[in-house]
């Protein structure tokens, strides 16, 4: 049209095509280099983990031991790095050599996309015996045959109870069934003059601290997926049992009061934690709480026990939810050799595992470490070791979309607790469909 416009448009389009070509052509799907024939670790290793504060200190000690026993290797540690940050960094090509995740949620995604490298070549080369890993832990660190992670200590969940509050209400033992839990929860609750909850017996909200469908599932033997990979939320009756039980307790308190109580809750990982302050009589939590209570010098007399099981499934009692921290080598890592040495140390060296377990009070993942005499075990901690070994314990399945299925369920559950979700079966079917669709979208 005009003399000035055409050259300009042309320049623009040229710039566009150059950039487009440049930027989309670098999608190299090159396979990762194989490990060197013999292990030679040296140089700097970047190590990201999610711990902060006291726990970060504990793992720092173990890392120092690693550096001492592996001269020539320095570890650069970054604390407080969560899964999202790791994924972002790896996707941008700046991932750490070694990453430590707080849960098994990402295994499915990281293994299938290659965000964490396949460790099998290293395992074969160094002849690492995977049988030393406890079976459930071995299972949750691989996905569809690809082992891209190794376990670093496990977490198990159980019931913490305030002995004094229980004694005041006349109880000497924690509940073993969900009916007992309901009864005791009601009796142990104290209300303020204006009707608000002052001390709660058991907080039934499924988004409060460690309450979540995944953590409760083992106690009703609820399964997430059928054998065909489709969501079992609507087909497995255990979910309905669980939610009906929960709703009963929620309705007893009324959800407004629960929300208000929850809004005033203290930071979970500080001394202001509701249980540590004596605001909650019974609570589901992980084994790490023991260390927190000690470090925070909380003024409570507490005990631990397995979480109650469903009334009709008493043989489940003694088990619980199991998960754990996992570690892997990022795609495009600069120093995979040294990274692998660090992983081997953290995951198979008994001394390191026991030291870390004592430091943050998590459960060791190798049979040798579990049996080690150096492992500090008191009555409270023993509960969790027993839960770990119980056949009724279970973990949550890995999917290509990570923990999205849990998030989808969790969001619907918030609506459920407020009583706005309508019919339970229809609601569960809706969520099941969403989960199936989201998995389909994530790819085969």
């Amino acid at each position: 049209m005009t003399q000035l416009r055409i050259p300009r448009l042309a320049v623009g389009l040229a710039a566009l095509s150059i950039i487009t070509a440049a930027c989309t052509a670098t999608e190299s799907n090159s396979s990762e280099p194989l490990p060197a024939p013999t292990a030679t670790a040296s140089g700097t290793v970047t190590f990201w983990h999610f711990f902060t504060g006291r726990e970060a200190e504990a793992i720092k000690q173990v890392v120092n031991d690693f550096e001492a026993s592996h001269p020539g290797v320095t570890v650069k540690v970054s604390s407080g790095q969560d899964d999202e940050k790791m994924r972002q960094a790896i996707a941008a090509g700046k991932g750490p050599d070694v990453g430590l995740s707080y849960s098994t949620d990402i295994v499915g995604n990281f293994c299938s996309t290659g965000a964490w490298r396949d460790l099998q070549p290293y395992i074969d080369r160094d002849q690492v015996d995977l049988n030393q890993l406890v079976p459930v832990v071995r299972a949750y660190t691989e996905y569809q045959g690809v082992r891209c992670s190794m376990p670093v200590l496990a977490d198990t969940y159980g019931l913490y109870y305030n002995k004094k509050l229980l004694a005041d209400a006349g109880y000497t033992a924690p509940p073993k069934t969900t009916s007992e839990l309901t009864e005791m929860a009601k009796k142990l609750t104290r209300f303020k003059a204006n009707g608000d909850i002052d001390v709660i017996g058991f907080m039934p909200n499924l988004d409060y601290y460690e309450n979540s469908p995944a953590h409760w599932a083992p106690h009703w033997d609820a399964h997430w997926f059928n054998d065909d990979g489709k969501s079992a939320l609507a087909t497995d009756p255990a979910w309905q049992e669980m939610l009906t039980w929960q709703k009963q307790l929620v309705d007893f308190y009324t959800h407004q009061k629960l929300t208000k109580f929850s809004a005033g809750k203290g930071d979970e990982f500080s001394a202001a934690n509701d249980f540590e302050r004596g605001k909650v009589a019974m609570m589901l939590d992980g084994e790490w709480r023991i260390a927190f209570i000690t470090a925070d010098k909380a003024n409570i007399d507490y005990g631990t026990a397995p979480f109650p099981a469903a009334d009709d499934k008493s043989d489940l009692y003694g088990g619980g939810y199991v998960s754990g921290n996992i570690t892997g080598i990022s795609k495009g890592a600069k120093n995979p050799e040294a990274g692998w040495e660090l992983i081997k140390y953290l995951t198979t060296d008994t001394g390191a595992i026991v030291k870390l377990a004592n430091g943050i009070k998590n459960v060791p993942t190798t049979t040798e470490a579990l049996a080690s005499p150096d492992l500090e075990v008191d009555d409270n901690f023993r509960t969790f070791l027993d839960i770990f070994a119980h056949p009724g314990s279970a973990t949550s399945p890995s999917t290509k979309a990570g923990a999205e299925y849990q998030n989808l369920f969790g969001t619907w559950l918030v609506k459920w607790q407020t009583g706005r979700a309508g019919d339970l079966t229809a609601g569960l079917e809706g969520v099941a469909k969403q989960i199936d669709d989201s998995l389909a979208l994530a790819g085969p």
Binding site: Q3, L4, R8, A22, A89, A91, G93, G266, D267, S270
Partner: protein
């Protein structure tokens, strides 16, 4: 060109015989208007007051109904710097804002000049393009741009936020262009008659006259980048060393959630520079706002 200096225009009172009648009614409306204005002003100021008061309380008192601090803990402000690397966040924020503003001025002033004072084919089309760019929500193009920066290995830093300003900022171009339109052509014509080249006309005649608009655009850019949360979240989220104050403040409360006193102290510290800068640059600021919304 509007200025917003008051005194304000008020319909003049009717003179003469009606005056006696009107006085009591005018007094009533006077009191009513002032009362409402004061009430509204109090409501607008109240949050600031509460923040300030809470910032100097102890933590336990922050959770109670007591509004007036029992003990005045001014060391809370110092505590804030101890608990989070606020100084580093401040440096990052300054780096981001200053560089972005500087780069923006370098690239946007020429473009605004070309759009306002020169005539060329395609000028209106270009200006429409500027308008469309201005109105575009950043989330529309965020994914490919993020991919670009990832390829260029600059994610985790603030450069993806700073560098694009070297290539112009649509809103600033718009702002400066609106102002430049109002400068009479006679100035330029006189200079051209004296034999000035176009470049000299631009640099020595017109742009000096546009100082208010340039100042306003610079201020806007500074505030925009200072307040930006989404940008730093996206690009520096994974690298806490490069967090800006906005990101640092949002995450400050993560580690110390129930420490409302410290959190409010940090909030106050983040708000303070903006408010101080505003008081110094009020005129330019308000002028800039009106340039955008009110036809000159």
């Amino acid at each position: 060109m509007t200025t917003v200096d008051l005194p304000v225009a008020v319909p003049a009172p009717v003179r003469g015989a009606r005056r006696q009648q009107r006085r009591p009614r005018r007094l009533l409306t006077f009191i009513a208007e002032h009362a409402i204005a004061i009430a509204v002003a109090l409501m607008f100021l109240a949050p600031f007051v509460f923040i300030a008061l809470t910032a100097v309380m102890t933590n336990t008192q922050a959770l109670t109904p007591d509004v007036w601090p029992n003990t005045w803990r001014f060391d809370n402000f110092v505590e804030v710097f101890r608990t989070a690397p606020m100084l580093r966040y401040l440096t990052n924020s300054l780096l981001y804002s200053v560089l972005a503003t500087g780069f923006m001025l370098l690239s946007s002033i020429p473009a605004a000049y070309a759009l306002a004072r020169l005539r060329w084919r395609g000028r209106n089309l270009a200006f429409m393009a500027v308008l469309v760019m201005m109105m575009l929500p950043p989330q529309v193009t965020v994914v490919p741009i993020y991919v670009l920066w990832a390829r260029w290995e600059l994610t985790g830093t603030l450069w993806p936020l700073i560098l694009p300003n070297l290539l112009g900022d649509a809103f600033s171009i718009f702002l400066i262009r609106q102002f430049l339109l109002t400068i009479p052509e006679e100035y330029a014509d006189a200079a051209r008659c004296d034999g000035c080249s176009e470049l000299r006309v631009m640099l020595q005649i017109i742009l000096p006259l546009a100082k208010p608009a340039i100042a306003a655009a610079a201020l806007f850019m500074f505030f925009l980048t200072w307040n930006d949360y989404f940008g730093p979240l996206l690009y520096t989220g994974e690298n806490a060393n490069n967090w800006t104050l906005a990101l640092g403040l949002a995450n400050f409360r993560d580690l110390h959630r129930v420490q409302w006193n410290l959190t409010m102290a940090a909030t106050l510290l983040v708000m303070a520079p903006v408010i101080v800068l505003f008081f110094f640059a009020q005129k330019a600021f308000v002028q800039g706002v009106t340039l955008t919304g009110v036809k000159g």
